[in-house]
Each structure stands twice: as structure tokens, then as C-alpha cells.
Amino acid sequence: MGSEDTMRMSVDIGGTFTDLVVEDGTGLSLYKAPTVPSDPVQGILDVLGTAATARDVPLAELLGKVGAFVHATTRGLNAVLTGNAARTAFLTTAGHPDVLLLREGGRQDAFDFTVPFPEPYVPRALTFEVTERITSTGEVLTALDLDALERTCDQLVAADVEAIAVCLLWSTVNPEHELAVGEVLDRRLPGVPHTLSHALNPSLREYRRASSAAIDASLKPLMSDYFSALTERLRDAGLRGRILMVTSAGGVIDAADAVARPILTINSGPSMAPVAGRAYALADTGSDDVIVADAGGTTYDVTLVRRGEIPSTRSAWVGDVGTGHMTGLPSIDVKSVGSGGGSIAWVDEGGLLHVGPQSAGSVPGPACYGRGGRSATVTDAALVLGYLDADGFSSGAMTLDAEAAVVAVKTSVADVLGIDVIEAADAILQLTTEQMVRAIEEITVGQGIDPAKAVLIGGGGAAGLNAHAVAERLGCRTLVVPAVGAALAAAGALMSDLTAIYSATAPTITSSFAIERVDAALAELVEQGREFARKAGVAPEEATIALFAEARYPQQIWELEVPLRVTAFAGPDDVADLAEDFHRTHLEILGITDPASPVEIVSWGARVTVRLEEANHQVGALPRGSAEITRRRAFVPGRGITDVPVVPLAAMEPGRPVRGPLLVEAPFTTVVVAGDAQCRIGESGSLVIETETDRPEKED
């Protein structure tokens, strides 16, 4: 492994396209093929075929050189969203049948009564109460009623359940009842997979733990089938290397581990973008505070890198916040908004312009697609402004109907507002920019990052339209559009490490610190990390095990993650260090601190990283295609429609920056540089844009 003719590949299955990024001795190359919704593995084989043809080698030969094949899939996510996961039963402590129904309360819009109360992840009809009770100290208050459990098993058999989730109160403090239930299920329902909450997600708060267990169990049959089919067909096609899966936490794991805990891969889609963004920001600008925006056709995903670390959250939802289902497990913190090229622009009865939330999707799509769409979309507005090439859209994949775009923008926006069509199109893009900025501000504020000091990475096929405008609005000095930006996630998957996160519930407070209990929990976490390394086939010393505390001020309910300086607390000084680190983090993220207050630690965690030895962490991509500079009529604020140069990325040379306004054609996207910013080619082949550093002139 690691020899020069060994390749690595990564595949990301999106809603429209399946992206393939190939890393060989020379750098990264990007390929795309349409996704096949009915048979996603076929989409993978198609894009592999595209690459083999482009590289002029037989597929089997190409695959034979692949040392590692990294895969991200939305298969599990879609199953949960569409309710197509296994018929799952939920076993809960007697007296608490509605853990999954009640969730954690709350309602997103106090005045919107059109949204019905959401159904529980497992119906009440398949929820069974287990007579038992353990208290917060781990004491058994009510013994497990095994006879009643046998009768419950009769019901489970009769109900034809395909998977079972078990979540009992305080199983994280004393797992004996969950383990006993697991043994009975093994005996009575062999072949029906189950998930025990304490084993999957040993964290406080019964809803989150129950939801993790229920989602995980429900995905086991499906994901197990999917992985076997994937493995078999890739092996048949000639792949001999290792197959790895992308996790929600921004790492990769062996496919076998993903089968055992399928929930770990559920949010794998957006989790790789920050990994790639971090690499490009570092390679092209040397910065480690990064905002990564991935603009697709229907959604705009924002993730962050703070001082080189990718922040995660434990409150990630599948589906909408509050009405979906919480995964309860650490996940890359991502903010998604329904803003993309397909978002529809409209004017309400009070005369206010809106963009979205409705989307024209890909069918009928924007008016300019000529597939029957009549609504004005962001893509139509961009075409009206001359930012898109009607004859060579998406690297020539389709042609656009410019007249249809003008008609749509005119009738649904310009005429209603009484302004001309160019002004209307500009207003649509401005508003879209504002929505993107808002998504970014929400997450940067939440994570304590100042956008003005960060680098913005513009990724995704629709990145180019607004990325520069977004950077200017945020005050980011540098925008990087990676050459493989249109497949940021797939590129990131090649740059990631094997990772796992373990956690332990050992609540304590700095004012009366339970040093022995905590040290025992930390020792156990370290051992779990070493075991992970051994299973991954490397010596435990080679693994990086980063310990952290999830802490808060007393009575707060949201914890902040604070890295530990030690692997065991030797005495009061170490505890004081932890408190100090917490106060600083609180100040950084929430703007205030209370140094006189003690600090509560709710749980402890270990983030284990094993660097893949075959990964050489290449980021460079070779420019391909035409290097001919052309001109196009396009809109420049303050000047109107004017002649603007169109510069292919391949035409740009290191050390020879060019100034805007101009359009830069990168693979699969066009970057609009409307102002007079300076553009250059970065170390990795990315387009690097330095925005105008002076703010607009002030009025007073």
C-alpha cells in the first residue's frame, strides 16, 4: 500500500449526480454521472465507467489499482425520511411509553398551526413497556420482570417486527437490565437485529438515547443488505482494496463497522465538506478558521473549521428541527437552508420579494431548463444577468433557454414590483446572498467564529453565483473555490482519517470533583480508543486519542465541549485548569463568562483518530479543458450590463493575478466576480479571490 501506482477513490451519491474523485500520484480528478435512484450502486458503477473511459483503461484494471474506496451514501437518511426503514419495535421502562412521541417538546413557529404534531419514530402500537426501574445512582428500584418480558417477546414475534430498539432509564449508569433484555431478545428473536441504547450512545437524556437506538435498529436490515450488495458488485467489477464508509462525525470507518452501527453514517453527506475545506484553506491560504459553504441545486450547507478543528453537535436532526428525529450522536455541525439554483422568486401581496422556500427542483426545474417550469428561479435570474453560459451550462452538459428566463423574471417579479428585468434579477440574487449569509451567521455565532477573520470556501455546483457576494457581505477577505469544489464532499472523503468517538456518563462538578470516578471513566475511554486502533490494524500508540469534557455552568442545559489537558486528574490543579478552559470557551462562544461559578461536567468523551497509512493527503488538482479567454455581456453593479471577460481556470497562471469584474469558469461551475477583486490561482489549483478590503462608503 502507498506505492505510486496505488490509487484511492471516493464516491458521493447526491440527489442529482454521483461524484467520483480519483487520487493518483499526480493529484485529484473529478468525474460525474447521473444518480440512479432505483439502484444507487449502478450509479457508482456508471461513474467508475466514466472515469475508466476518460483515463482510457478497462474498469477492472482501474479498480485493481485502488487501495481504498471511500463511500458516502444518503441511503440510510432517505430511508428514515421516507419512512422506509425496517418495522421496528421500541422497548422502554414501564411508565414511560411516550419518550419518542414527546421528544423534547418545543415548537418552531408559535403561530403556524398548519404543521401537525409529528408522529413518533416508532409508533405507540409497537412500543412495549418493560417492568423495571433503575435510579440515577444506578440502584435497582424495580427488578426486571423476566416473565413479563417473555410475554412481550410473544407479542414481538406476533407483530412481525424486523428490528428492536431498547432504551431503559439510567441504563448508562447501570446497564444490567438492558443487557439482560438483549440476551432474552437474542434467544427469543434470533435473526432480528436489536440496538441497546447504552451500548450505542451512552449519554444522558432518554429521548436522545432512545432516538439513536430506534434509528440505528431500524436501519440495520437495510444497510446490511446495501453494504453486501455494494461490496459484492464492486468486488465483481475488480475492486480488491479496502472499503470505507464516511461517518456523520467527519471520519471514515470500515464497512463492517458501518453495518454494525448504521446510524453512524446517516449524515455522511455534508460531513466531508469541512474536511476538504480545511485542507484547501490550509494549502491555498494557510488559514485554519474556515467557513465551508456547499451550494447544491436545492440546499446550501454551511460547516465550519475552528482553529483547525471541525466542531460537532449532539443535537443533529434527521428531517426538520423539532419535528424530525434527533440522531443523538455527535455529528458535524451543519446548517442547511433550502436555498439553491432552483429556489423560486415571488412577490407577496404586500409587495415583498421572497426567494424560496419553494423550489422548482430539477423537474420541472428553472424556466430556462425548458422543461415546462414557469416560475422565476435563482438560476433564471443568473442567466438574465449573463452569469451563466446558455450554451455550455454545467461544463456543456445542457443548454439553457435565455428567453424563457427573461419572461419568468419579468412576469413574476419585475412587473409586479414595477422595476425592469435586470433590476429584478439583481434583487433576486441579492436576496439569495442574504439568505446564505444568514445561514452562515447563525452557525458562526453559535460556534464563536468571526467571519471577517475566516476564509470562505465556495463548494458545490451552484457555488459560483453568490460565493463572492457572500464573502463581501461577511467581510471575509479571502474566498477559495477549489478546482474540485463541485465535488467537495467526495474530495474530503479522501482526506479523512479513521475516527471513532466514545463517551462516558460520569457527572461531576469542579467544586466537589469526583476524581476517582472520573479517572476510571477516562481510563476506560482511553482503552476503548486503543482497542479501536488495534481493530483498525495499527499499534495503539499510533492512534491519537483526544479526551474532552462536555461541560456547563450549573443549571445550564447546553454543554460546551472542552478538550482536556490531561488523561487523568492528578489533583486540584488539573481540575482548576479544566474550569479555566471552560470559562474561556464560554466567553469565546457565548460572549460572557462567570469565573466565580463552578463548572458541571455532564459527560466525558474520547475522539480517536487513526491516520490511514495509504492516505497521502493530496489536494492538488490539475486544470483541464480549454484555456481560451472569451467575453460575455453580464451585469456589473453600478455599471449595468457590460462586456465582461470569461476566464477558464485553466487559463490562469501562478503569480499572474487578474482583477474583476470577470467570470471564471471552473469545472462544473462559473464563479461570478462582480467587483474589482483580485483573483489568482492557489497552490492546489484553486481559484483564490481576495475581496475588496474596504467596506462600502458610509453615509454618516
Binding site: 411508565g95 414511560h96 411509553p97 411516550d98 414527546l102 423534547e104 417538546g105 418545543g106 415548537r107 418552531q108 413557529d109 408559535a110 403561530f111 398551526f113 398548519t114 404543521v115 401537525p116 404534531f117 409508533p123 405507540r124 435510579t135 445512582t137 432509564l169 444522558l204 437524556r205 429521548y207 407577496d348 401581496e349 404586500g350 409587495g351 415583498l352 421572497h354 414590483l417 414595477g418 422595476i419 425592469d420 433590476e423 439583481d426 434583487a427 436576496l431 442574504e434 439568505q435 444568514r438 447563525e442 455565532v445 455552568y553 450549573p554 443549571q555 445550564q556 442545559i557 447546553w558 464560554h586 457565548l590 460572549g591 460572557i592 466565580a596 467596506r695 458610509k698 453615509e699 454618516d700
Partner: protein, 598 residues
């Protein structure tokens, strides 16, 4: 309709873009407050709000928060600030919790910060408000229904008191609070969070003005309020004309042995595009903590109206211009004057009032209005106190949120299960059993929906929730203020009422006995406090409910098979399949019974 004047291209784009900017600022203020708050009532119940007002005190932009906080009060507060401090300066901050000067009730501490430009001109006011875990009342609760007046209530009142000057704390005020508020370090933490949130709003507005100029922001403010008024007028024009009078009655409480009857007279004028609500024909203030402040009387009425129309109409002074709420001084649902106590002004009577308004809207015509949202501060949301003996011996006092009242049926959906009450709009979070058991020495034995307690209807109300909890190794004291155990929550448009709430105790020998409607109740080791929250009222006649929805409710155990037949007229066989013929017969006979009754 297009009443709006044709505007310049720049203004059209600007209105949309700046409305996003203002919304984002409020969101940012709220996120800061939510995440840095210390008390359970702030961070779990999310009982806080933030808003931006114009310099002369018009509510300009509000965010997602409990509706009772932000609609009809912040304007009064901002104007009272200008009354006491006609000249405001950068760096000042004012603490305001006076229900006699525009605040909701004494437990809601507001910080007002004037946003002042470089020339010293007052441009905007930002307001952040949060319910406190304690506000210095004479007993450990912030909802003191039994208080005969503000003196017995005992809360510290701050009628616009300067707490920061030149961005520096006025420490003497803070020291006073720390001497009179229980768990002072928790209050101090929440105070910092509120102040921090308001300062973040101030900074963001200054930055925005730096970018686009104050004049552009002034133009925006005017246009945004006008836009909102146009949207409101347009929403009202879609309603039928009509007048409705509804009545309701708060349960008998200490100080009000007969309960409190309430009457609402409401008139919709679609031609003028206005709604008129008259609350003047109600009794005078009562010697109890139940009186509404001016802010909560207006807001409760506005909630009832905004719950009944297109939810996308912005909530600000522009849309409020289209609603006239008539109030009377010294009226129990009007303008309480010092020293009448308004300790529970955000919950009990406010919920009754808002419910009566939305039910009046329902009477105006089909497809509008709502039934009554479950109400009452159940023992499931009690302030619990005692001594924690698990590690040492430390006193504890905390409000728990273990079970919510059911939401009301509406023309669009069944009631929201975790609605809590009308004033909160369902925004509050529910406690985790494990977190509650960790925080205080209690054990929650049971929590789940109470079968057959929903207000039946074409769109049904949500059921109540049963909660049963008790102390671990000691005695527990619980204070609450439970309305709805006598007068249940009414349905609308022939929908049925939800089941009444229950407060009771399970003694050590297992017998269940009733307990006081407000507490304090002492629960001994081995005993359990039983709470059943109110079911929400149903909307529309139950026999019109989609039979498939009834089957779903039976399969999922929300209602019994018997109730499906008796109330909804849907007859199911043993396999829970619909017996179509029997269902048709049953529904016809139920409808005939209704006719006879009518």
C-alpha cells in the same frame, strides 16, 4: 391586491434584504440568551424574548418566542423609558419589570438598551426579556396566584431603573437584587445573559448602520411597518364580516371563590380591514395575583387573533394597527393599577382571554379561529423545593417542566401535543426525566398521554398528559396554579371540550386523594404527586372527523375503541377495521341527537 406604491428598484430589494438583516439580529440575540441562560425557566422553558423597536417605541421586529412576551408590551416599555429618561445615551441599559409600566409581570426581567448614533441621536431600542427563576416573591414561586396585592406578592419592582451607564454596571442595583432574590448567583447568571443579548443587538444595529446608513434604516422601518399593515389588512379582508361574544370562566382560586368570568366582544370588519376587541365589560381587579397587566391583556387578545389568521403576517406595530383592543383601568382583564398583583399575568387569565378571543374568531365563520388551548399551571410544572440529601444537605428550589397541556384543534390540524398553553405558543421545551432526576431528589414514575382526554372534533384537541412523581429520601414541596380542573377547555364550531385537568396525591397505601388547586403541597417520602394536564378543545363536529384519522388514533392508543364509536361515531371491529355500515348508522344517530338538543 396591490395597495403599495410603486417603489424604486433599490427600495424593493432593500426591503427584503433589510428585513432579513433585522430578523437575523433578533435571532442572534435570542440564540445568545438561550444558550447562555442559567435557570431552567430560561433555558428549558425558553421563557424569554428579544425584539427591536423604533426610536419612538414601535415594535419593529420580533423573533420566535413565547407570544405572550412580545406583542402588546414592549412598545409600552420603550415609551415608559422615554417618559422617565427623555434623553438617552449610548452605554445606558435599563432594567424594567414593572407591570404598571408596560411589562408583562414582575418575574419577567427586561433590559432595554437605547441604540444611539455617533451624533448622540437615539435611533432604535433593543429589548431582551426573560422570566426569572425567582424575583424576590414572599414564597418560592414566580407565579403567586394567592397574592392579595403587590406587597404580599413581594417581588422587587423596577420601573425603568438604570443598571448600566457608559457600558459599566451600576453595582448597587445588582447588590440589592442579590440580597432579595433566591439563588442569587443563578439570577446573576441570567441577568448577564439578558444584558449580553441586548448588547449584541445594539452592536449588530450599529454595524448595520455603518454599512447602509441610518437614513436607509429609517426608511426601512417606515416601509416595513406599512408592509406589515398591508398584509394584515389583506388577511382581514379575506374574513367574513361578523360580531361574536364569547365567555369563559377561570376556576375558583384563593381570593376568588367564585372563579373569574370573562367576556370577549369581537367584531371583524373586512371592508375596513380591521378587528375590534372589547374587554371592558368585565369585573374589576381581584385581590389575587391573577390580574392581567396592560401588556398581557392586549397581547392575549392579539394572540387569539394572530392564531386565527395567516401565520406569515408579520407581528409588529404595523399589523397591530389593524386591531383595536379596548381595555378599562382597574379591570381584571384590562389595565391593572398599582398595587393590584399581576403575578400570574402571563398564564392563567391570559390563557383564558386569548382562548375566548380565538373561539370568538371561530364563531365568525368556518375555517378560521381555533378551539381552546389547554391551560393551567399543573403540578407537572410546579416549582419544587426541599432539601437535597443525596450528597450532604443543600436546599433546592426549581421549576420543573414534566408535562404540558394539550393544544387546540384548528381548521388546519389536530391540537399540538406539547402545546403547554396559549401564551407560550408551544415553544417551551419538556424536561428529560433523567435530567430532572439528576438535578433534584425526585423520581418521575410515570409520564405519558392520558387516553380519551382530547377534546373531540373534526380536528381534535390534543390529550392531556399524566405525570406522577415524588421525592427521593425527603419531603417535597410543590407550588403551582392549576386552572382547568373545574372549567374544562371549550371546543369551537361544535367541537367538544377537552377533559379537565387533575391534581391529586397517591399516598403510601396507594389511595388517591385530591390536593389543593395551587399548593403549596407537601409530598412525603413514599408518596407521589399526580398531575393530569388539560386536554385541548376540538374544532368542528366529531362526527365529521375523517374515519381513517379515528382509526389511527385508536391503533395508536390515543383514544379507546369505545370512544371512537360513542363520540366520533366510528365503529371498529376486533381487527380495528372500520365497519362502514355501522359507522354510517352511528354517525346519523349522533347527528340527530345533536339536532334534538339544538
Amino acid at each position: 391586491m396591490s395597495e403599495q406604491p410603486r417603489s424604486s428598484a433599490a427600495e424593493s430589494a432593500q426591503l427584503a434584504v433589510l428585513s432579513h438583516r433585522f430578523e437575523a439580529i433578533v435571532t442572534r440575540m435570542q440564540n445568545t440568551l438561550a444558550r447562555s441562560g442559567r435557570s431552567g425557566v430560561l433555558n428549558t422553558a425558553r421563557d424569554f424574548s428579544c425584539c427591536i423597536l423604533t426610536a419612538d417605541g414601535d415594535v419593529l421586529m420580533t423573533g420566535q418566542s413565547p407570544p405572550i412576551h412580545v406583542m402588546g408590551g414592549p412598545d409600552l416599555q420603550a415609551r415608559s423609558m422615554l417618559e422617565f429618561y427623555p434623553e438617552v445615551h449610548a452605554g445606558e441599559a435599563f432594567l424594567h419589570n414593572s407591570p404598571y409600566h408596560g411589562n408583562t409581570h414582575a418575574a419577567d426581567h427586561s433590559i432595554l438598551i437605547p441604540v444611539v448614533d455617533a451624533d448622540g441621536k437615539h435611533r432604535f431600542t433593543v429589548l431582551a426579556k426573560a422570566h426569572q427563576a425567582d424575583c424576590g416573591n414572599s414564597i418560592p414561586t414566580t407565579y403567586m396566584a394567592s397574592a392579595r396585592d403587590v406587597y404580599e406578592e413581594g417581588a422587587l419592582i423596577f420601573p425603568v431603573v438604570k443598571v448600566q451607564d457608559q457600558y459599566r454596571d451600576c453595582e448597587d442595583i445588582l447588590r440589592m437584587c442579590e440580597m432579595r432574590i433566591r439563588v442569587p448567583e443563578q439570577w446573576r447568571g441570567d441577568y448577564l445573559a439578558i444584558l449580553g443579548s441586548a448588547r449584541i443587538g445594539e452592536r449588530a444595529l450599529l454595524q448595520l448602520a455603518d454599512e447602509v446608513g441610518w437614513d436607509a434604516l429609517d426608511v426601512f422601518s417606515g416601509k416595513w411597518l406599512d408592509y406589515s399593515e398591508i398584509r394584515m389588512a389583506s388577511a382581514i379582508r379575506k374574513l367574513p364580516a361578523g360580531r361574536a361574544v364569547t365567555t369563559t370562566c377561570h376556576d375558583p382560586f384563593p381570593g376568588v371563590p367564585e372563579g373569574i368570568p370573562i367576556q370577549v366582544a369581537l367584531e371583524v370588519d373586512p371592508v375596513a380591514g380591521t378587528i375590534d376587541v372589547d374587554l371592558r365589560d368585565n369585573i374589576d381587579c381581584v385581590p389575587a395575583g391573577l390580574n392581567l397587566s396592560e401588556a398581557t391583556s392586549r397581547t392575549a387578545a392579539l394572540i387569539g387573533i394572530f392564531n386565527s389568521i395567516d401565520h406569515t403576517v408579520p407581528h409588529n406595530q404595523g399589523s397591530f394597527r389593524r386591531v383595536q383592543v379596548h381595555l378599562r383601568e382597574n379591570c381584571v382583564v384590562g389595565i391593572a393599577r398599582h398595587p393590584a398583583s399581576t403575578s400570574t399575568a402571563t398564564t392563567n387569565l391570559a390563557n383564558r382571554l386569548g382562548n375566548a378571543v380565538q373561539r370568538a374568531m371561530a364563531e365568525i365563520g368556518p375555517g378560521i379561529g381555533m378551539a381552546e388551548v389547554g391551560s393551567g399551571m399543573s403540578p407537572s410544572e410546579a416549582v419544587v423545593s426541599g432539601i437535597d440529601r443525596r450528597e450532604g444537605s443543600t436546599p433546592f428550589v426549581n421549576q420543573i417542566f414534566t408535562g404540558t397541556n394539550g393544544g387546540a384543534g384548528s381548521p388546519h390540524s389536530d391540537g399540538w401535543l406539547t402545546m403547554s398553553d396559549l401564551g407560550s405558543g408551544g415553544t417551551l421545551l419538556l424536561d428529560s426525566v433523567e435530567i430532572d432526576e439528576l438535578k433534584q431528589p425526585i423520581l418521575i414514575h410515570r409520564r405519558g398521554i392520558a387516553v380519551d382526554t382530547e377534546g373531540a372534533g373534526e380536528l381534535r384537541g390534543a390529550p392531556g398528559i399524566d405525570v406522577e412523581y415524588g421525592p427521593v429520601g425527603g419531603t417535597l414541596e410543590a407550588i403551582y396554579a392549576n386552572d382547568g380542573s373545574i372549567n374544562a377547555m371549550a371546543g369551537a364550531r361544535e367541537g367538544l371540550p377537552g377533559a379537565p385537568s387533575i391534581q391529586a396525591k397517591r399516598t403510601t397505601d396507594g389511595t388517591v386523594e385530591p390536593v389543593d388547586i395551587c399548593g403549596p403541597v407537601r409530598i412525603l417520602d413514599g408518596e407521589r404527586l399526580l398531575a393530569r394536564t388539560s386536554g385541548g378543545g376540538g374544532y368542528g363536529r366529531p362526527t365529521r372527523r375523517d374515519p381513517a384519522a379515528v382509526v389511527h388514533d385508536v391503533r395508536e392508543g390515543w383514544i379507546s375503541r369505545d370512544r371512537a364509536a360513542a363520540v366520533y361515531g366510528v365503529v371498529l371491529d376486533d381487527a380495528l377495521q372500520i365497519d362502514v355500515a355501522a359507522t354510517e348508522r352511528r354517525r346519523t344517530s349522533l347527528d340527530n341527537e345533536e339536532l334534538v338538543k339544538a
